[in-house]
């Protein structure tokens, strides 16, 4: 497998993770009342916007690499126990931890600006973990 193929595969894997994140966060947000849980609602909404932006950026990079971006699945498994604000917060934290781990696993498959992008997205996911009750880690994503 060539380095170029590895890089495109890595970007597509990251894109697949973002498609899933967008879907899951939209579903979690739909289970929240803006009036009853304003802070959590806004946090989920901000995370959703961030993941939409990340998805679009990754699509641009895949296209720039000469490949066709993969599309989203028709549906994704939703986390169990996300029927309450506490469960929604926990599910969102798990989602961000999964995204961070995914990005960290992919950084060695890309170089230059593509690696910078994945490191940035890894950091974004790590920071959002704090918004959902996570704590500072020595090595997020590992």
């Amino acid at each position: 497998m060539s380095d170029q193929t590895d890089a495109v595969d890595a970007l597509q894997t990251a894109l697949a993770a973002e498609h899933a994140a967008v879907y899951v966060l939209a579903s979690l947000g739909g289970r929240l009342s803006r009036s009853d849980n304003a802070t959590l609602f806004e946090t989920v909404e901000q995370a959703y916007d961030d993941h939409v932006a990340a998805r679009d950026t990754l699509i641009d990079h895949v296209v720039a690499a000469g490949a066709r971006p993969i599309g989203s699945a028709a549906a994704y498994d939703l986390p169990r126990g996300a029927g309450s604000p506490v469960g929604i917060r926990r599910a969102a934290l798990a989602l961000e931890q999964h995204c961070a781990a995914t990005y960290l696993s992919l950084v060695t498959a890309v170089n230059g600006d593509q690696r910078r992008l994945l490191i940035t997205l890894l950091g974004d996911a790590a920071v959002r973990q704090l918004d959902f009750g996570g704590s500072v880690e020595t090595f997020p994503g590992s």
Partner: protein, 142 residues
């Protein structure tokens, strides 16, 4: 992530093994000739650029931590331990600009990860970047 820290010994050990294997192929005649010939200058070991990167990161962290809250020094001590590097106290070098210095570390770590060649080191530096961003956010700086 493997528990084994990245170290100069890891980087240089590979060169030592390769050198030893190469030398066993010398003939007896060559050995005799070498005894008669003037002693050639000792070739220097090839420089592993990753070793310089780790040292550069260590220096940047030490400088940034000199006037920063202890939480930063604790994080960086743990990160440098995994990188096989030790932090050395360097009082007063960042002064009142510790906030800027800590923010610059994000760029330093990112660029070190982009430049690194050894896969474990790439991941450790990428993940350390995310940890730095988390702590900055937790301190209201990111």
């Amino acid at each position: 992530m493997p528990a084994r820290p990245f170290s100069r010994r890891t980087a240089l050990g590979t060169f030592g093994i390769l050198t030893t294997v190469g030398l066993t192929g010398c003939s007896a005649r060559a050995t005799i000739d070498s005894l008669k010939a003037p002693t050639p200058p000792t070739p220097s070991a090839p420089t592993n650029p990753d070793v310089g990167l780790v040292a550069q990161v260590g220096r940047a962290m030490t400088t940034a931590d000199s006037a920063a809250p202890a939480a930063f020094a604790r994080l960086h001590h743990a990160q440098l331990s995994r990188l096989g590097e030790t932090s050395v106290a360097s009082p007063g070098t960042s002064g009142g600009n510790w906030r800027s210095a800590q923010k610059r570390l994000v760029t330093t770590l990112t660029e070190a990860s982009v430049a690194a060649t050894e896969t474990d080191l790439v991941r450790l530096l990428a993940s350390a970047t995310a940890g730095q961003r988390q702590l900055l956010r937790a301190r209201g700086l990111g």
